[in-house]
């Protein structure tokens, strides 16, 4: 069967061409904040009417893979995550750019993305039935535990006060709760009488406002600083330095495994995977204090994990017909248009289609890597554009991108609010990353909290239930406490060493 599929797909020039085209479109949409993968897939939907199923799969998988990876370009070069999934990439990617290592950072990030994508595609072949069962075994309490753990882990990875990180997380969760309440849809929460707030704030507005625009506008205070690219060789194809990559082998594998497993859980997504993996890389690192200063480990952890999510996310989409995020939801609709019924029988009865998906994913990852590695020499030139041209141009484009989400100027007004909030927080050493993670996960946290209450009656019963969810919640509570105690012990030890 596999041979037949390989023969029919790899000898079809249109299949290969569409996978490459899809990867290119995805990278472009992923790199520009405000535009994203679901928009790109939705745009090509009318074209897929005239394509057969194989060609549709090649095009869509190309966009999906390219879209997630493309976010690293603006994240590394401008500290402006093209997609929310690339937020963690900014933490070490941009400092590397500031050190003059933009090309190396891009090469490392691109390779990590490629590795994560290929790894998850292989897992997709080997473990789809097992992963589907794993995803099905998660009830609301387990989901709540996983999301709760992700929130507390992110606070521990932030530099500075843990308390400030937790306050930021709570603000993010509360901002996500604005609008109509989930499940019942009866309460208009903190809408202040504005109907525009019924649907709440959009994630991309919060990310652009709190994180990206704040940094961009702040950069205008450093107009005379010139950024250069130190280790910039004009090559056709950028491989990362293999010695440096070899040191990252365990980080690559661990992050890819984490990304694939997080991807399997519907709704958790690439943003969490990137952050979670970054936190883990920092935890396992021998030099955690260097994270955030521009080291390879941070970029590898974030990019390998967020691209590994793509393969994982296809597991529930194809085998259970449960899309985990907007991208997979649009993919599901594109496949439905083609007359393909996703579900448990797809893997069993239509193994050829399932294998075609995997070939398309592998091919899309290869093209994503080739396109990005070949374009590094041109793309890194962005940072040499003077800030007086770059900042207004990017701000204008992103603002229009933000406007297009709901087609209303209200979103631009809320963008101003988030710029001010992000600026005040950043100026006073309140980490903004936990706010974004709190906002990203807030809606799901509430949904699973209320489902847990509905299932168990009250939280007490859930807490004493012998389930995986209880373990995750316990780790989520204990981990920051242990982390704080360890940090204090370390600080004491250092102080003693300095005194002696």
């Amino acid at each position: 069967m596999l041979q037949q599929v390989l023969l029919s797909t790899l000898t079809d020039p249109y299949f290969i061409l569409l996978a490459a085209l899809g990867a290119f479109i995805g990278i472009c949409f992923g790199a520009i904040p405000g535009l994203n993968t679901p928009v790109a897939i939705a745009l090509v939907l009318p074209i897929t009417y005239s394509l057969n199923l194989n060609h549709t799969l090649a095009l869509i998988m190309g966009i999906f893979m390219g879209g997630i990876s493309g976010g690293l370009i603006s994240a590394i070069l401008l500290k402006l995550p093209g997609t929310a999934a690339a937020i963690a990439t900014c933490l070490d990617g941009y400092p590397m750019t500031a050190k003059g290592e933009a090309a190396e950072a891009m090469a490392i990030g691109t390779f990590a993305s490629f590795f994560g994508g290929i790894f998850s595609a292989i897992i997709l072949i080997v473990a789809t039935p097992a992963l589907s069962r794993f995803a099905l075994s998660f009830g609301p309490w387990e989901y709540f535990g996983a999301i709760f753990l992700a929130c507390t882990l992110v606070c521990t990875l932030c530099d500075g006060s843990f308390l400030k990180g937790m306050i930021s997380t709570c603000i993010g969760i509360l901002l996500a709760s604005v609008g109509l309440s989930p499940i019942d849809g009866q309460s208009h929460r903190m809408t202040l009488g504005w109907s525009e707030l019924n649907s709440g704030f959009s994630l991309i507005i919060v990310v652009i406002g709190v994180f990206a625009f704040t940094e961009l506008i702040r950069s205008t205070n450093r107009l005379k600083d010139e950024k250069t690219i130190n280790s910039y060789e004009k090559k056709f194809f950028y491989f990362p330095n293999w010695k440096r990559m070899w040191k990252q082998k365990w980080n690559l594998i661990r992050s890819s495994i984490l990304g694939t497993f997080i991807g399997v859980l519907p709704g958790i997504g690439a943003t969490v995977a990137g952050m979670f993996s970054y936190a883990q890389a920092k935890r396992f690192s021998k030099h955690p204090e260097l994270f955030g200063t521009g080291i390879d480990d941070g970029i590898v952890a974030s990019e390998a994990a967020n691209n590994a999510v793509t393969g994982g996310a296809l597991v529930p989409t194809l085998s259970l017909s449960v899309p985990g995020d907007p991208s997979t939801a649009v993919i599901l609709s594109a496949l439905t248009i083609q007359g393909l019924q996703c579900g448990p029988m797809l893997v069993i009865q239509h193994q050829d289609i399932f294998l075609t998906v995997i070939v398309a994913v592998l091919l899309a990852n290869i093209f994503m890597y080739i396109i990005q590695a070949c374009s590094i020499r041109f793309v890194v030139k962005i940072i040499e554009v003077p800030l007086y041209y770059l900042v207004p141009a990017v701000v204008l484009f992103c603002a229009v991108g933000a406007y297009t989400i709901n087609n209303r100027s209200f979103d631009l007004l809320s963008l101003l609010l988030f710029i001010v909030l992000g600026w005040v927080l950043a100026d006073n050493q309140y980490p903004t990353m936990p706010l974004i993670i709190g906002f990203t996960l807030g809606k799901m946290l509430e949904l699973y909290y209320r489902r847990t209450l509905s299932y168990y009656g009250d939280l007490g019963h859930a807490l004493i239930s012998p389930s995986f969810g209880t373990v995750l919640v316990a780790i989520g509570v204990l981990f920051p406490v242990i982390n704080m105690l360890m940090d204090k012990r370390l600080a004491k030890k250092r102080a003693q060493q300095e005194q002696s």
């Binding site: 709760s177 009866q186 297009t404 631009l412 101003l416 005040v424």
Partner: protein
């Protein structure tokens, strides 16, 4: 003192939310406590954290000044204000006119501030910049309206565009 005010502002907003959440309707068959249960739980955690932070600040000897209005200072402040004006005028003026004015002002202002001689680079340079800015705005407008089929505000050019 500044941070204490900041924490009190958050607490006040949280207090308002908590009070409002007590009035949310709970469906007859809803066993979860309605739409207010989750925000209330998070708000309680937030209040505890704010109190802990407050104690931490009061116990600390060195007090760093809290910056409330950093976004209004320097070149960044002017750029932020011009962006605010752009946002406020996008509906009445329309995207093309508003974006052109915003880009013209911000590019020239930042250029002026970036150069040591504090000059705009001569008439020719200003004209070339203006033409490029208008071309860029029209390109963005074309991409979003024609390619992505988004209705950007037409404003005063309603009958032309």
């Amino acid at each position: 003192m500044g941070e204490i005010i900041f924490l009190l502002l958050i607490a006040a907003a949280g207090g308002y939310y908590y009070y409002e959440s007590l009035g949310y309707t709970v469906g007859r068959f809803d066993t979860t406590g309605g739409g207010g249960i989750f925000p209330r739980a998070i708000l309680i955690v937030l209040f505890v954290l704010l109190a802990a932070r407050l104690i931490e600040i009061l116990l600390r000897k060195e007090k760093a000044p809290f910056k409330f209005f950093g976004y209004l200072k320097g070149v960044g402040g002017v750029f932020f204000l011009s962006f605010t004006v752009f946002v406020l005028l996008i509906k009445p003026l329309g995207f093309v006119v508003d974006a052109t004015l915003f880009a013209l002002f911000s590019v020239n202002y930042l250029y002026y501030k970036a150069k040591d001689d504090k000059k705009l680079g001569g008439t020719k340079a200003v004209i070339i910049r203006t033409v490029c800015i208008i071309a860029y705005v029209l390109l963005v407008n074309w991409f979003f309206t024609d390619v992505l089929t988004v209705n950007l505000p037409a404003g005063i050019l309603k009958n032309i565009l």
